[in-house]
């Protein structure tokens, strides 16, 4: 429900359904009936946020407690922001319409770096000071979780604490602690000190950072009893973990109009560019029976007709065949599509494939990521040209005519030949089509390649690497365009400026807090939206504080440099990442965990037991 004052403006904004609440399955509790109110904030628009699985889990989890309530908050679009500001309506939560500033916990989920300014904007729209030090009371406590908090130093001055790793258990413990401290009338500092003792909680203000003259970090010191390293939380048994049986069903069309059910966390692949893969190690699978139970429950309660089985690499799910054989008859009978993102179609039973309507509809996609085998070995992406072509051949015989290929440019050790290789691989797919005797008659092929710019990320073997400057990336994009000869190939590329900013914040340190605040004050928000990105304002902001942004992106780090995120522990060890970096430069691949354990260090999070192949590794 929205504040009454908003009523007469609702029909004057785009998509008013974003701001009304009242959706099916939303949980409305009375403020006075609970001890802790939690405002879950997604720092982007409703349509994007409502597609996010993490929010759905935490929402149901917190609302499952009698003593707490969880409500949703999204970033208002520009037209709505104008109204909120001119009418003096503080940002409100969708369920009750209560002002966000009156909640006990304001939790942001941070999925991408370019949403940082939106966090400040949402705090400001709530009528709160953006800096943690200026919010004196115990509540509202401003916290953050999600991928970006593996290095949230550029936002360290704004949040009170972050939650590292899996949020399910630590959120509950934090609520318990806050409830206790609220009751005894404790202050914020006292609470933060105690919270820092919960595994998975990181309190930035309890760490002092000193810098060397060259701008690198001299030392990070924990104080007031905070652990030397804040360790991420890891839910060991996903079957026993809380999982929601119902989701809020938006009236509006959202980015993904379907339900999502997680099948496993972690990844056995070890692609060296992939941050999510390393951050979420070790691998933990849900049992097929549990997955099916959740799918049925959620479809029953929401009425969705599409389920996306979500993980980092669907094909690695051991129970996939069992699950599909058991679930497909139900799905087909009820006209429910099962989407299997990133499914590798080689080795996948043909008859199961035929029953998967969604695969038939969406066409073939591959993510070779690099254009040559040499570079694919460097990044440890184990997909060969032969596999791509033979799968395409199979698909063309089956009537397919469209293929999508995903690549990155700007990868470490990349040469012009590697860029050319992207065009060559796409051309090879086109040729494969024309040489195929069973190709669909009278049709032509369409190969679309999507080229992203590589951004080195913390907790990956490439965390020390230099990121290509925007002009270099543009040169490489142009080279690629010249190499594409066939009109059957379409190329989509991205503006390198967003990757540049993303790169600054991905590996940035605390000195960037001032820059983020200044850029936001000067109008930066929704930076991930090309039409909103104000690069000139960002550049002025860096300059104002004497910061060279390329110090964070274009500089190759020494292995012994203290990195801004070194005092966090996500399982994988620096020694392992270094080993992997060296192997990358030697062009050596590393086998997936199921073939051979590489002792990455993540097993310790699971009590030393990782999966059946590495029980002994601690």
């Amino acid at each position: 429900m929205y504040p009454e004052k908003l009523e007469k403006h609702l029909l004057r904004v785009q998509k008013p359904g974003r701001y009304t609440g009242g959706e099916l399955n939303s949980v409305v509790k009375d403020r006075d009936s609970v001890d802790i109110s939690y405002a879950f904030c997604f720092p982007d628009t409703y349509e994007i946020g409502m597609s996010h699985l993490g929010m759905k889990i935490i929402y149901s989890l917190v609302n499952s407690r009698d003593d707490a309530r969880c409500e949703r908050v999204f970033a208002p679009d520009v037209d709505m922001e104008e109204i909120l500001r001119s009418e003096n309506i503080p940002l409100y939560a969708l369920e009750s319409g209560d002002a966000v500033k009156d909640f006990d916990i304001i939790g942001f989920t941070m999925q991408y770096e370019l949403s940082y300014t939106n966090v400040l904007n949402m705090l400001d729209l709530s009528g709160l000071p953006v800096r943690s030090a200026d919010r004196k009371g115990l509540t509202p406590l401003v916290i953050a979780g999600g991928t970006c908090v593996c290095n949230f130093e550029p936002m360290a001055d704004f949040v009170d604490l972050t939650l590292l790793g899996d949020g399910e258990e630590v959120t509950m413990e934090l609520i318990d602690l806050l409830k206790e401290y609220k009751k005894k009338g404790a202050g914020k500092e006292e609470f933060l000190k105690a919270a820092a003792q919960i595994p998975g909680v990181y309190v930035p203000s309890l760490y002092e950072v000193e810098y060397k003259e060259d701008g690198t970090i001299a030392a990070v010191t924990a104080k007031d009893g905070a652990p030397g390293k804040a360790v991420k939380r890891n839910v060991a048994d996903l079957d026993k973990m809380f999982s929601p049986e119902t989701f809020v069903v938006p009236f509006l069309e959202t980015v993904f109009d379907r339900t999502t059910v997680e099948i496993f966390r972690g990844c056995i692949r070890g692609c060296r560019f992939c941050q999510a893969g390393f951050l979420s190690r070790p691998l933990r699978e849900k049992s097929p029976a549990e997955v099916e139970r959740e799918c049925r429950a959620i479809c029953d309660s929401t009425g969705y007709d599409e389920i996306s089985l979500c993980s980092l690499s669907t094909s690695d799910y051991k129970g996939l065949e069992t699950l599909l054989r058991s679930m497909l008859p139900w799905a087909n009978e009820n006209k429910i599509n099962i989407a299997l993102p990133s499914l590798r179609v080689d080795n996948f039973p043909q008859e199961l494939m035929e029953q998967l309507t969604s695969v038939r509809r969406s066409g073939l996609t591959f993510a070779p990521e690099a254009g040559t085998q040499r570079l694919r070995d460097v990044i440890n992406k184990n997909i060969t040209e032969k596999e791509v072509l033979s799968t395409c051949a199979q698909a063309f015989s089956g009537g397919w005519t469209a293929v999508k290929l995903y690549f990155m440019i700007g990868l470490p050790t990349e040469t012009p030949e590697d860029v050319e290789g992207i065009a060559n691989l796409a051309q090879a797919v086109v040729d494969e089509f024309y040489h195929n005797e069973n190709k669909p008659k009278g049709k032509s092929v369409n190969v679309s390649i999507s080229v992203a710019s590589f951004v080195p990320k913390p907790f990956t073997p490439f965390q020390w690497e230099a990121q290509d400057r925007p002009d270099t990336l543009i040169e490489k994009q142009n080279l690629l365009m010249q190499c594409v000869k066939s009109r059957k190939i379409t190329v989509s590329r991205h503006v390198p400026h967003t990757s540049f900013l993303e790169g600054v914040f991905a590996r940035g340190d605390r000195r960037l807090c001032d820059v983020v605040e200044y850029a936001w004050k000067n109008g930066c928000k929704f930076d991930s939206w090309e039409e909103h990105l104000k690069l000139d304002v960002w550049m002025q902001s860096f300059e104002k504080f004497g910061i060279d942004p390329f110090f964070y992106t274009a500089r190759k780090r020494d292995f012994d440099e203290i990195l801004p995120w070194d005092h966090l522990d996500f399982g994988v060890t620096k020694a392992f990442l270094k080993r992997e970096n060296e192997r990358a430069h030697e062009g050596l691949t590393t086998p997936p965990c199921r073939e051979k354990c590489s002792a990455c260090g993540a097993a310790k999070l699971n009590g030393g037991v990782c999966n059946e192949l590495c029980k002994a590794v601690v």
């Binding site: 429900m1 009523e7 007469k8 609702l10 029909l11 998509k15 008013p16 359904g17 009304t20 609440g21 009242g22 959706e23 099916l24 069903v249 009236f251 509006l252 069309e253 109009d257 479809c299 029953d300 309660s301 929401t302 009425g303 969705y304 007709d305 009820n334 006209k335 509809r361």
Partner: protein
């Protein structure tokens, strides 16, 4: 296969749901209710579900027709009961009938527009002003149609019009040409009246009350 006409009421927060979103919303509700829908054949099968007279964003409806096709014979009462158990707030099935009249028989509809002001005087003033404006028989506005935007005289679409003040509210009862041939959106009429009267209400609700065929016969 059975054709069934659902009559639903749209009010409250549901008013902010666009027509496309209504479609999705009802499809899911029917699925949740466990009413087996008939699916179209072909490459991309979809459930048969047709809104006879889509409501514009912002307009509520008292009794709006929606046709579905089911594969099983389910009683009208059962359909109503099951759907009302699963529909979100603001949407309610008020009746379930057979699909008698055809959509192209619709010619007009009755609307109630309630504009609330800060004082009774303002409401009086607004009611008086709009009555005067409609009385002149000329009220021009830009109207979007399939053939583009053109300026039309809205009065040509108005079959009846009565405005009076009731406390702080000005209440307008009006019948407008509605349907596939000629159609005037009540929201557009109200907006144009606001501009012409140079007044802007605090809150506004627009409700479609009834739908008619030729000769003011109720559409059924």
């Amino acid at each position: 296969m059975n054709s069934v006409r659902l009559w639903y009421k749209k009010s409250g927060l549901a008013v902010y749901t666009s027509h496309l979103d209504m479609n999705r919303c009802f499809t899911r509700a029917v699925r949740r209710a466990g009413i087996p829908l008939w699916y179209t054949e072909g490459f991309n099968p979809h459930p048969y579900l047709t809104f006879l007279l889509p409501l514009p964003l912002g307009t509520a409806g008292e009794r709006e027709p929606l046709d579905i096709r089911t594969v099983e014979d389910i009683s009208a009462d059962e359909i109503k009961k099951r759907l009302n158990a699963v529909l979100p707030e603001g949407l309610e099935i008020v009746d379930v009938t057979e699909a008698r009249d055809k959509a192209n028989e619709i010619v007009s509809a009755a609307y109630e527009i309630t504009a609330c002001f800060e004082s009774g005087e303002e409401a009086e003033k607004f009611a008086g002003a709009v009555t005067g404006i409609i009385g002149t028989g000329a009220l021009e506005a830009e109207k979007r149609s399939k053939r583009g935007i053109k300026t039309v005289n809205l009065c040509e679409f108005i079959l009846s019009f009565k405005a009076k003040a009731d406390g702080n509210a000005a209440v307008i009862h009006t019948a407008l040409l509605t349907g596939t041939q000629q159609n005037l959106n009540a929201g557009l009429l109200e907006e144009t009246l606001e501009k012409a009267a140079e007044m802007s209400p605090e809150t506004l609700t627009i409700v479609r009350k009834e739908i008619y065929k030729e000769n003011n016969e109720l559409f059924a």
